[in-house]
Symmetry: D2
Subunit: 338 residues, 4 copies
């Protein structure tokens, strides 16, 4: 931690800061410049909790030097992690495809979709049983009934299944049915939910919040990890910007940024990022080329009849075509489909 003093900070003010730091068992290094004095703090800064140095007389600002996330930090775990979901590895050398409808609408459409995406090459079936919707009057999901269909689809096809959970209650129910929990963008800082997901021990896919910084996202992952569950996959799904040509703005640079800050795998959701079906294929190729560990894509037997997200869903044929198109990109990127 570095403390920048104001240009007119008195000797006495600097001395007080120094004493405060040393009284907590830390070391203070002073650099006196022509314009300002800088105080470097050496040692475990958590010892300073309850002392608001930022507000002490003569202090201009405080600059943190190290990140607050630890378990998910690459500095303390330099090798990229591979997350195992049943027998499916997510991580270096592999490319995972997750596919399925935005919402589970009924038994048949789900089973039909499961068969189709399995055949095309997906390793996971996705499907929403609990739908967070902007308006209370929109379709909210089949809840446990939907989860049962997911389990049935899993048994029929061997696919892993992943479902979003939007509350502790949903989480408690979901762990009985699914292989992987999804925590969605709107709940990225629902800390109770993160901690419970951590305690569950079940693999978690954590989506980035609509306007979360990468550091906030990693801190959210740390909430899960700090409960002992490091089976975490991050999912970039676009952030909110002023641009309205796409539903969100895919932050593709997040992939190399994450590679340098964390050892966790990262996958990309081109469906929510763009909101437009015809953009999914080019964006998916870019995702593989940039180094993502996988993709999660919305697929629906009849997008034009979908209860939600129809315009961004692929048909079975389109998904099959997508996987074929991605194959040479995966090969170039040194990844095998799982």
């Amino acid at each position: 931690m570095i403390i920048i003093m104001k240009p007119d900070a008195s000797e006495e003010a600097v001395g007080k800061i120094k004493s405060m730091i040393e009284s907590r068992g830390l070391t203070a290094h002073l650099s006196r410049g022509d314009q300002v004095t800088i105080v470097g703090v050496v040692g475990d800064k958590t010892k300073l909790q309850g002392t608001n140095i930022e507000m002490a007389e003569g202090v201009d600002k405080i600059l943190p030097v190290t990140e607050s996330y630890k378990v998910v930090n690459k500095k303390f775990h330099p090798e990229d992690s591979t997350i195992q979901v049943r027998n499916t590895p997510i991580g270096p050398g592999h490319l995972v495809m997750m596919a399925g409808p935005c919402a589970i609408e009924n038994h048949d459409m789900l089973l039909q979709t499961a068969e189709a995406v399995k055949k095309a090459g997906a390793a996971f079936l996705r499907g929403g049983a609990y739908k967070p919707r902007t308006s209370p009057y929109a379709f909210q999901g089949l809840e446990e009934e939907g989860l049962r269909y997911m389990k049935e689809a899993r048994e029929a096809t061997g696919l892993n299944v992943i479902c979003e959970v939007t509350s502790l209650k949903a989480l408690e129910t979901a762990v009985k049915y699914v292989d992987m929990l999804q925590i969605g963008a709107r709940n990225m800082q629902n800390f109770e939910l993160l901690k419970e997901a951590g305690r569950s021990g079940v693999p978690v896919m954590l989506k980035r919040g609509l306007c979360a910084t990468i550091d906030e996202w990693l801190n959210a992952a740390e909430y899960i990890a700090s409960e002992g569950n490091t089976n975490i996959v991050l999912c970039e799904r676009g952030i909110r910007t002023y641009e309205t040509a796409t539903r969100n703005t895919l932050d593709i640079s997040a992939v190399p940024v994450l590679r340098s800050r964390t050892h966790l795998p990262v996958i990309i959701d081109p469906s929510h990022a763009t909101g437009v079906r015809s953009y999914i294929e080019p964006i998916s190729k870019a995702a593989v080329a940039v180094g993502a560990d996988g993709l999660i894509v919305e697929v629906h037997p009849c997008p034009s009849c979908a209860l939600s997200d129809g315009p961004q869903s692929l048909t079975f044929e389109q998904f099959d075509h997508l996987v074929r198109e991605l194959k040479p990109y995966a090969a170039l990127a040194g990844r095998e489909f799982v």
Copy 2:
């Protein structure tokens, strides 16, 4: 709802859209332009659920005409509402001051703060018992113990008390102790929590999400209202933008925008909006001048020892001075302190 056809949409495609609309008992009005054909849909558009017109052949885009929020919509309730919390009115003609520490740190600091803000003119004591923190290693709040202190402060001073709830469990506990629930920015789209707050019947202050649009915010309020609880106060607390000179960017125009879209009262949180103590007084004056129904301000007996948000907290003297400074502005705005 309006459907814009593509320039090259065939007669047949237009005909199909028309049939689809009419088959659901709605009426389609066609306007054929030189470049494009437009289809106006008349009737209850919820009848179209499950038909993805947006994806039908020849359709370019869909434009909604009316808002999805109803109970909180000014169109259906043109008069501004006054929310009663015990004997305290929040709404036209009144100015409500809510004040207190970011986090309840211990019994004495809370009681002391309650006395001070009461004396200065606050009607509500605020204080966090459940703290949503970016890092899992930061102080997370005293939870129920904090709520007990709040109740004690309420009994000692007569102040109304308001606390943030971050989970269903916290909500269940909090309703036993507080006069008003706060749903924070990070939980604005925690729909389970919103619905439960609606069912509780307890007055709710709903903060705007970090990057929520005003319409998403009103839809979140609609989640509460749709469960029968219209005792809702909105709180603008700044949105996330690229500017880093302040913690967030206060969207002061949200006040007149909300006045035109909803009948609910709106208050402003200058502490979180700016994050800088010296900006709170000018921003508070602006808030009263623009027509806000109140302010929620962080006050701490010793900001430089605060466990969180110290740099944006006012001392007792500063809060007292703030209220005095606001008095003539309140008078000009036709409001009395409650």
Copy 3:
């Protein structure tokens, strides 16, 4: 300037950085922490130009300590400036109203508007002769003919006149006719134009760029000031965010932020910030309450026939009413209308 070394930086790497700094006649202060080593650089950092320390071996990042703007920086000129435009002071104790049409459409509408805003209490007539328009097919302004009408209006009413200049050629022409130049949001980083405005010596109102940070804005002002012209007034006109309920998002906190960083006066443009006529009055009150030195408002004899910005323009009666409404707020803020 502070240099943060990587956790694994070698002694040798640290030594090299130290030598590089000292070889330029500066001093390096080392703070060795448990995790990282920090190097404080003392002295004139421009001596380091051409040495990319950021990229030297072992360096993690560089943190600047002082601002790059000097002449407009409050640190070197602690007292707030008053800018004189002819006999009109803009600065502490005064409130300046600038008003007029978005675009000068013809002779009569401009003269008529000048009379009306003068009578209502404006000190400046604004009017666009050179219009920066998103589409090349929209009305682009009357150019020099418009400037002539401005001068005529100035002679008829005694008002100061201000016009936007969008190119060096426009600037050269405008200085013959106007009392104050306006540099608009789209040209805030048109550095040639800034420098030429600096060399002209004519007072300048510099609007904030659509997505400029406050520091970039002050650096843009420094371009003008570094040419010897410190007659600069800043104008906050809203920034671009994801919110679409208003044309832009007024960053009202920019006023106290600027007060702490610069001595230059700041005025607010509620017309462009909101884009909605009915929001102008509440926002103007907030602007005065927060401490702005003035307002610039669009006024048109017939907003519903305006060639541009009609929906955000006030009628003569509305402007007259606005000024009356602002009077008690100005009095409270310790300002007299000029």
Copy 4:
């Protein structure tokens, strides 16, 4: 154009709108809904200039149906364009590499860079002679001297050369030396410059503004095209968002969005988008995979001594490696290096 009436608009108000439209020789189509009436306007809407329907009694809002850009619009030119710069094609089937230093610092470094990037496979040498810098005290470029070096490098290597122009004067000078003009992000709405670039007839690379929407960008291109010059290449270089992990946020989805809206080629600038050297390779692969027509990359003989943008510049070896790495991606995308 579509006009949405307010729910309470009177018959008389609707009638007036209809008359106003028809009096201009256009046709009005009415759709009366249960809640609102909608008026579709058919015909050339420029005939409505000067009638502010938006402000007429009873009108709620206006929705545009067609874009204001015409010459660059894909609707009127469905086939993707290939821009010829001397003998180099930019467009479908080709991949163009532009490379060189941020700023031309001196003769030798430029010539040396030209040789190196030519050998590695670039078709264009980039280099800044006029540098737009945030602070007036930063290095501003060699101006005409720099352009002379560019011409010399062009003659020595056969590379095309491209330079940014930041003013009309710079443009007038540059056209004597360069093969392609660059208009930078800060000048994307410097309309005088755009028009002059249009009149010059020289090929132009137009970068996206820091916070420009794709539609504003296309309108800026239309300014150039409307002067008769359609030799335009668009360059996505990242937009400004709240995320600070990268210098800007690359909007990679802009590529498929542009493909659907315009026939102009689009290239990507990974150097400015990310600001971090190690992110350039993965982002460049993604750019090729998503379908970009080329890349513009900063290369410097000694990034650690660069006068500007050192941390994002590649060394010669790194650039050579980048081109090799991109080859199989280009092949997959059906493109040949030019």
